[in-house]
Each structure stands twice: as C-alpha cells, then as structure tokens.
Amino acid sequence: MWPEQIHKELSGAGVRVVGYVPDAGHKRLIELCQADQKMRAVVLSTEEEGIGLAAGAWLGGQKSVLLMQSSGVGNVINVLGMVRECRFPLVTLVTMRGEQGEFNPWQVPMGQATRPVLEAMGTVVHAPATEAEIVPTVNAALRLAYNSYASVAVLIPQRVIGIKSFQDQTSR
C-alpha cells in the first residue's frame, strides 16, 4: 500500500522530523511515522507551524516532511514566503479534498484553490494521477527539494484516498 511505501521513501531519504495536522487520508502514514524510532512525529495545532518546524530542522541539519489536508494549504500561504526567500527545502504531502466525488461542499473552494495557491507562492506542485504514480512522485519530490533547495508539494488525489462519505471517513 502507498502509505507503507511512502514511509519507506521518507526513511530512505533520511527524514527525521514529521510535522502533521491529521487527515483521514494520512492516518496510516502518521501511524508509521509515530512508530518509527528514527522519526520525530510532531502534532501541530495549525499547518502553519509545520513550516517553521521544517525551517528550524533544516537550520539544524535535519530533513523533514509535512503532512496535511488540502484545507491546510490555505493556512500556510504567508509563511511560504519565508521558504521561498530563504530557499528552504520543503516537502509537503497533501491529501486532497474538494476534488472528484467530494461530499462536503465546504471542502470544495480550498480544494480547488490548492494548486494555484501553492504555485503562486513558488512551490513546485507534483500531482500524481494514479496510485501507482504516488511513490515515485514522493521519491522525486524528496530529491528535488533536498538536492535543489526547492519547496515541493505532492497532491495525493481524492480518487486514490477514496473516502466517499462522512460515515466512511469516521469509520477509518
């Protein structure tokens, strides 16, 4: 499954700090990072904190990754300015809402704005279309970020996560 494979990629790349605001789509990956003795999983009160966390970790020589839902992208816009100005490497894995088959209308505006918002702030957006593309895309994002000092977001499509209703979401 892709969460296990993403965890392997993060581990292989030497990621030590994992900031997250939970999302049902990230549930398994968060659990894997929490259970990994070499990783520090940091629960955030808002996604914005994850940008500061990643910047501080990099100042101290450690690689990190940031996990959030698409709604969280709206919470990080201004501080992405620091990432760009300082050329901090940053990898953000975004589970998408407000895309195909969304059941909560309040998710649609931010979900549809996620890509343009990130691009407007200088983040490179990778959007794998299928489950098979996710892991190679995460691998490429880690290399682009840490070899080229780029901010890179990987948008994990709602179709792959496959949550279809509130009942489905809470039962996961």
């Binding site: 030590r16 700090v17 520090r40 940091v42 629960v43 955030l44 009160s45 808002t46 914005e48 904190e49 994850g50 940008i51 500061g52 966390l53 990643a54 910047a55 501080g56 970790a57 990099w58 100042l59 101290g60 020589g61 450690q62 690689k63 990190s64 201004n78 501080v79 300015g81 620091m82 100005e85 300082c86 050329r87 901090f88 840490y146």
Partner: protein, 185 residues
C-alpha cells in the same frame, strides 16, 4: 526596563548559543547586541519564531536554543506553545520581550496591554515559566522547555538592521553550525 539592555544581557556570554529572533524589534535587538552567524533574525513569517526554535532544538539536541520574540509575534503563534508543550525539548527557551505594542506599525496596543497573560498561557501548555533572575541558568543549563516574559518600555529607538537576504541568513547559520556538512547534502 530598556529592551536593548535586556537583550544585550540575555546574549552576554552566549558562547555557542543558537538564537532565533521574531520579526521587527527583537530582530533589531539581537543585532544591536552583536550580529552573529548563529543568529537567525526573521524579516517575515510572523508567528513562526517559536516553531523555528522548536525545529532547531529537535535537530540539535546537544545545543541550547534561544528564541527572542515580541509580544505581538508570540500572540500570532500562541498555538506553538501547545505544540512545544507536547514535544518538551529540554534545550529550548522562549523569551518574550513585551512592550505591549505592535512596534513596527505605529505602536498600537497588543493584547498584553489589556491583561492577557502569556506566562499563564505558557504555564498551561506545560512550559517551565522562569523569572528574569533565573533566566541565564534556564537558557544555558536547566532542562526546559523554558518560557519567560520580560516587560520593557514602549520606546521608539533607532533600527539596527541585520543582513536582509533570507538565503544568506540561512546559509551562514548552517555553515557556522554544521561546518562542511552544511554544503554536503
């Protein structure tokens, strides 16, 4: 108390202390005390100073990390105190230089001018609140995370500006801290 005197005293005998400063007056204060490659003064990203300190403290557990920021900046990132309270980094101290004003925008009053108690917030989040006479020991030695508010005069004083290019500030900090490893990744 005068903010420049307070910050100068905080940083006297700093040795290999790693210092993050919030945007605005505290960035000028740490620069007035003596610019250093181991200073990371922010020119933006309001609300993130304490979180940058947390990331740095987790990445460098053998070094001591000091965040110096203003009351307005801390108020914008108050949730980060809860996040720090969960992680409990022993090597992190956050000091708020509290003039009860937004100093860069016309000296408007902040919430702390109306009795909002940042020490109380930090204490409720599990940080160790220290008074100014124990601050040096907290910054350099005692297990943290520590938090302190130092009330200072609301005064307009000359700016003392650090380098302003973000990439330069980042690169010089990493080279000073990590040596040749900074460029090896």
């Amino acid at each position: 108390m005068k903010r420049r005197d307070v910050v100068k005293k905080l940083l006297s005998g700093r040795k290999d202390l790693l210092v993050i400063a919030g945007l605005g007056s505290t960035a000028w204060d740490i620069t007035a005390a003596g610019d250093s490659p181991l200073n990371f003064p922010l020119w933006g990203a309001m609300g993130q100073a304490a979180m940058i300190g947390l990331g740095l403290a987790l990445a460098q557990p053998k070094r001591r990390v000091l965040v110096i920021t203003g009351d307005g900046e801390m108020l914008m990132g108050m949730g980060s105190l809860a996040t720090i309270g969960v992680q409990k980094p022993k090597n992190l101290t956050v000091v708020v230089i509290d003039n009860e004003r937004y100093g860069e925008t016309g000296m408007q009053e902040t919430h702390t001018a109306h009795g909002i108690d940042l020490n109380g917030v930090a204490r409720a989040c599990g940080l160790n609140v220290v008074d100014s006479k124990n601050l040096q020991g907290a910054i350099h030695k005692a297990p943290g995370p520590h938090f302190a508010v130092i009330k200072v005069d609301a005064e307009k004083i000359p700016l003392v500006l650090p380098p302003r290019e973000g990439a330069l500030l980042k690169a010089r900090f990493r080279r000073a801290l990590l040596g040749s490893k900074a460029d090896a990744e």
